[in-house]
């Protein structure tokens, strides 16, 4: 099923994306002809069991990995056609990324980390927007601290702020709550939710946590490299139900 409403304003479009690892007996089909649209201004979750290809899909969309065939459009740009320079520019200007392991630059303060993508691009931050983001992240007086002086939840909120600060077309979050306790995780998810609601940010999140998925507008389920199901305005229970059904199908 290629289940997505035909939105004219798709932030990202995936067409017939295929990626395999290994060869012969050991061949693994990480992505098997995936086609998917990510609507603008929506909070989308990608779910699936381990090895379902959800991380690979996101890495390909975020210009971190290349697929074997098919194409990925961010806006109108087919990133499978881009060389390293173009990909770098795309990552810098169009994409925000939140990693599971925070991945802040340890030598820089929280504030410097947030401004890093813009500083690298040599751009000035839109001050009003930046103030908004910083206020939303709610770090307050901790902005001048180095990452190792912040808690895990604080670090991840800085990472989210960094992803939002340059107003990218789309933000990818790879298990952003995976390393956090439930309270810190909730804060981060809350933050992502608000960025969608208040600023119309497009967010795609890979997760295996039904609680996290419940914060989103739409959940796409992957199994064996294929999109197998999807939910709109999901609740925790609905998500669990689909996951259980999928677990029964795959022995």
């Amino acid at each position: 099923m290629t289940g997505s409403p035909a939105t004219s304003s798709a932030a990202a479009r995936v067409r017939n994306l295929t990626k395999t690892y290994g060869a012969g007996q050991a061949l693994v089909r990480a992505l098997d002809d995936v086609t998917l649209d990510i609507a603008s201004g929506e909070f989308t979750a990608v779910m699936g069991p381990s090895g379902s290809g959800k991380s690979t899909l996101m890495h390909c969309c975020a210009a971190l990995d290349t697929a074997d065939s098919g194409s990925v459009f961010i806006g109108d740009q087919d990133l499978t056609q881009l060389k390293d320079k173009g990909l770098t520019r795309l990552r810098r200007d169009e994409i925000g990324f939140v990693f599971q392991a925070f991945n802040l630059v340890p030598t820089l303060t929280a504030e410097e980390n947030i401004q890093l993508p813009m500083a690298i691009a040599g751009r000035k931050a839109d001050q009003a927007w930046y103030d908004n983001v910083v206020a939303t992240v709610g770090l307050g007086d901790r902005l001048k601290h180095k990452p190792n002086e912040l808690s895990g939840g604080q670090q991840q909120r800085v990472a989210v702020a960094r992803a939002l600060a340059s107003r990218p077309r789309i933000v990818f979050a790879d298990e952003p709550t995976g390393n956090l306790d439930s309270r810190s995780g909730a804060e981060v998810l809350e933050l992502l939710r608000r960025s969608v609601d208040e600023y119309g940010q497009t967010v795609v999140m890979v997760t295996h946590d039904p609680v996290a998925a419940a914060y989103t507008d739409r959940v796409v389920f992957l199994a064996d490299g294929r999109v197998v199901d999807e939910l709109r305005a999901p609740t925790r229970e609905q998500v669990l139900e689909v996951m259980n059904r999928m677990a029964e199908h795959t022995p």
Binding site: L64, V105, T107, L116, I120, A121
Partner: protein, 853 residues
């Protein structure tokens, strides 16, 4: 445990190769210098064995300063007496003279800087112990005034074959050529080639042999005498026995020595003269090992830090502290063995290179295979392994402090010793080094050289220990400047350099050491040149200096000719040679009393008028050292026997006087020194064309040149330049090690920060920006090392020059341009060192980099 250690060793090949490189170079220097000096000494001993007879009869005092035969000769009738000795199988007289230059077919003098140009009579006498000496290998022996034999090498180098006319300049020939002109050229026919059929070499000396009457005519003014005599022992007669039989028959002033003694003596003189090369190489071996040790400490620190989780796991699995520590030491041991082995191989190449270099300078050792003494192997391995293991000890010791529980944590930080403590240690070491250095430089304690070297080493290590603290302001400043100039990328680079100041500064220290020494040498060289310039400017008298390029003496006929040149008002002749005083060599020079004034010698004690035959003038510094005053007697052993001179006056030190004892030309000749000039100083009317007319006199003598003040100064500066250049070349190797150190540290840092690099790429840092970042970090390290090195080196250089300021080097000159060049060079070094690590970082697969733990 051992398997685990070896496995981890193999897993890190590139890093190992780089850290081994320092060991390889250090060991190569050690091995190379040992192999070369062994080869040299074997070659000399073998060589001289074939250049002496069983018993050598020679004038007492033997030879003059440059090894030339003294003017005392052995009359022919002594030989007849010797032939009566029952143990003597045969007696052969030799005539030898130095400064007999062979000019090649294309007009160049065949010679080297050290080895002499020998002329003499042909003799087929066997060398000691029945060794076959020089023998004719082609053609026949020389007969009559127009035939000559050359040694193989010389004939080959000069491009002559049997039957050719050979151009020979007998610059010290006693007999003026016909018409009283200069005995400039001989053009005998080459009738034979001499070689060592059973091995041996002249070590680069040139040899031209005539028949005995011709040689006597040319070199001994025609007297029927010899410069030395070989007595060959009959069968069953030992050298010592023969010597004792011969000795009673000899006239006064002539002695007999066994061939073995004579060979040893000759060999050891020469060996001593070039032993500085071995010392030199060993010093550089020491430098590269110290620099290398820094590199190893650093590499192992990083490796251990990266592996701390793995080591903690080993601890959690039940390995004891000791086992963990020794697993690291085992790696160091393997590395040391590897480095020593490669170093030994490189050392052989180095020895061969030095041998080739020496052949270039005229000291030909190609006939002698390289000598591998067991001590060379032993020294190489001991040095290589010990240095590696000792350097790895510090980081290895820290592993023992890793708690097993850390295996379970995400990021393990190795416990670091406090910087505070390091600062105090370093400070203590530096102060101790300063004290020792001061003692070495400014006190009269023995072994000043060791104290100076030890002090310098202690200061270098002390500063290296302190550098994480004292470099902080520099690193902070560098960060600020980078941030301003290069924006965020610059800021990141600066922060990275600050992140682990220990590592940054340890890496910089390797460069610091190399540049410290380079700066010291630059200052010493520059000061020496400035001193030469100043003393020449202050003391150069007359208008032209005539001297022999190779420094040997030349025939007085040149001075005679110069006096007749139109425009020449006065010619001052200066001579110098070496006699002996209380068994030690003592340089003496000769100037006529009438020339004391023109030379502007300042006779401060005594009366210049008292300076005449039988008396001497002494240089002030020497006279004070020796406690001699006007009116004292000075006793010297001269080639012609013991002589006593009255001290007529004390002369202020003046570089125009080449030796501290100044005597008249007549006394000089009487003492048994050859009748030849070393330097002529010409006073002219400076009329146009004067130099051309003077040049014309020596046009046929390529070895003798006429120079004005500027040219003379240039000539004096040249050896200093060459010396400094050689040292720079050797220090270049220390710099190569330092560069490798930076490469190593950066490469390891990149590996360590893989995830961070991946992150930067993921948020849009381009490859170019990443490369820039790593290059900037590298440049900070290099510039830090350079600044420390230049500061220390300038300090050492000035201290050193200050310490020797009363030894004729009173000018302290700091070559600012050169120091700036060093700093610029360090930037280049930084950029170059970053190439490989930067490329590696830029090529990292972004996704995999992020996924890295």
């Amino acid at each position: 445990m051992i398997r685990a250690a070896l496995k981890s060793l193999l897993g890190r090949k590139v890093r190992l190769v780089m850290s081994t490189f320092a060991i390889v170079l250090g060991v190569a220097f050690v091995a190379g210098s040992l192999i070369f000096s062994d080869t040299l000494s074997r070659s000399f001993t073998a060589l001289f064995a074939s250049t002496v007879g069983d018993v050598v009869v020679r004038p007492v005092g033997g030879t003059t300063a440059d090894g030339a035969p003294s003017t005392v000769t052995i009359p022919a009738d002594v030989l007849d007496d010797l032939r009566e000795v029952p143990g003597a199988a045969r007696v052969d007289g030799n005539v030898n003279a130095f400064g007999v230059f062979v000019v090649s077919a294309d007009g160049k003098v065949v010679s080297g800087f050290g080895p002499p140009a020998i002329g003499g009579n042909w003799s087929d006498a066997p060398a000691g112990h029945g060794l076959e000496g020089l023998a004719i290998t082609a053609g026949h022996e020389p007969h009559g005034p127009d035939e000559v034999v050359l040694d193989e090498r010389t004939a080959e180098r000069a491009g002559y074959e049997v039957g050719d006319r050979v151009d020979i300049i007998p610059s010290t020939a006693a007999e003026p050529s016909e018409g009283g002109g200069l005995p400039t050229h001989l053009t005998p026919t080459l009738v034979g080639i001499a070689g060592f059929p059973s091995g041996g070499s002249l070590n680069g000396a040139t040899y031209a042999a005539f028949d005995t009457p011709t040689a006597q005519k040319l070199f001994l003014g025609g007297q029927d005498a010899y410069t030395d005599v070989w007595v060959t022992a009959a069968d069953g007669v030992s050298q010592a026995q023969l010597r004792d039989d011969v000795a009673p028959l000899l006239p006064d002033g002539v002695e007999a020595v066994t061939g073995d003694d004579a060979a040893d003596e000759a060999a050891s003189d020469l060996l001593q003269a070039i032993s500085f090369i071995t010392t030199f190489l060993l010093i550089f071996a020491g430098i590269s090992l110290v620099v290398g040790a820094f590199l190893i400490v650093n590499t192992f620190s990083i490796l251990v830090a990266q592996r701390s989780r793995e080591l903690a796991l080993l601890r959690a699995l039940g390995a004891s502290k000791r086992q963990v520590l020794w697993s690291v030491q085992l790696e160091a041991f393997v590395l040391g063995v590897l480095g020593a082995t490669l170093g030994l191989g490189l050392g052989v190449l180095l020895a061969m290179a030095i041998r080739a270099l020496f052949a270039n300078f005229g000291l030909d050792l190609s006939g002698q295979p390289l000598i591998f003494a067991s001590r060379t192997f032993l020294a190489s391995y001991v040095v290589g392994i010990l240095v590696t293991m000792a350097a790895a000890w510090l980081p290895a010791r820290r592993t023992a402090r890793i708690a097993p529980v850390q295996a379970l944590r995400d990021d393990v930080a190795l416990p670091e010793s406090s910087l505070q403590r390091r600062l105090w240690w370093g400070l203590g070491l530096t102060v101790a080094g300063l004290v020792v250095l001061a003692l070495g430089l400014f006190s009269d304690l023995p072994h000043g050289g060791w104290q100076t070297g030890g002090g310098v080493l202690a200061i270098l290590l002390g500063v290296a220990a302190m550098s994480p603290v004292i470099s902080r302001p520099f690193l902070a400043l560098a960060r600020a400047v980078y941030a301003r100039v290069f924006g965020t990328i610059g800021n990141l680079a600066g922060q990275n350099a600050l992140r682990n100041p220990r590592r940054t500064t340890a890496t910089a220290s390797a460069l610091m050491i190399g540049l410290t020494l380079a700066c010291t040498m630059a200052i010493v060289g520059d000061s020496a040149k400035a001193s030469v310039d100043r003393s020449i400017e202050e003391n150069f008298v007359g208008d032209f200096v005539v001297s022999n390029v190779i420094g040997t003496a030349f025939t007085p006929a040149i001075g005679d000719q110069m006096e007749k040149v139109q425009g020449v008002e006065h010619v001052v002749r200066e001579r110098f040679q070496t006699g002996e005083r209380d068994g030690d060599r003592q340089g003496v020079s000769a100037v006529d009393p009438g020339d004391v004034d023109p030379l502007e010698l300042d006779v401060s004690d005594g009366d210049p008028a008292d300076y005449a035959d039988g008396s001497v003038l002494l240089q002030r510094s020497w006279a004070e050292d020796e406690g001699l005053e006007v009116g004292d007697d000075l006793e010297l052993d001269m080639p012609a026997g013991k002589r006593t001179y009255g001290v007529a006056g004390i002369v202020e030190d003046n570089p125009v006087v080449f030796a501290p004892v100044l005597m008249t030309l007549r006394d000089f000749a009487d003492a048994g020194f050859p009748d030849s000039d070393n330097v002529l100083i010409l006073f002219t009317d400076d009329s146009p064309g004067i130099q051309d007319r003077l040049d014309a006199v020596v046009a046929d003598l390529p070895v003798v040149t006429v120079k004005d003040q500027g040219e003379f100064a240039q000539e004096q500066r040249e050896p200093i330049d060459q010396f400094v250049l050689i040292i720079f070349a050797l220090l270049g190797l220390a710099l190569v090690i330092a560069v490798l150190g930076i490469v190593n540290t950066l490469a390891l840092s990149v590996i360590e920060r893989t995830r961070e690099v991946g992150l930067l790429r993921a948020i849009g840092v381009s490859r170019v920006q990443l490369r820039t970042m790593i290059t900037l970090e590298s440049v900070v390290i290099a510039v830090l090392g350079a600044i420390l090195g230049v500061v220390l080196g300038t300090g050492f250089g000035i201290a050193l020059m200050y310490a020797v300021r009363d030894q004729g080097l009173e000018v302290i000159s700091v070559p600012l341009t050169q120091l700036v060049v060093f700093l610029v060079l360090s930037v280049v070094i930084g950029v170059l060192a970053a190439i490989f690590p930067a490329r590696r970082a830029a090529r990292l697969d972004v996704l995999r980099a992020i996924a890295t733990e």
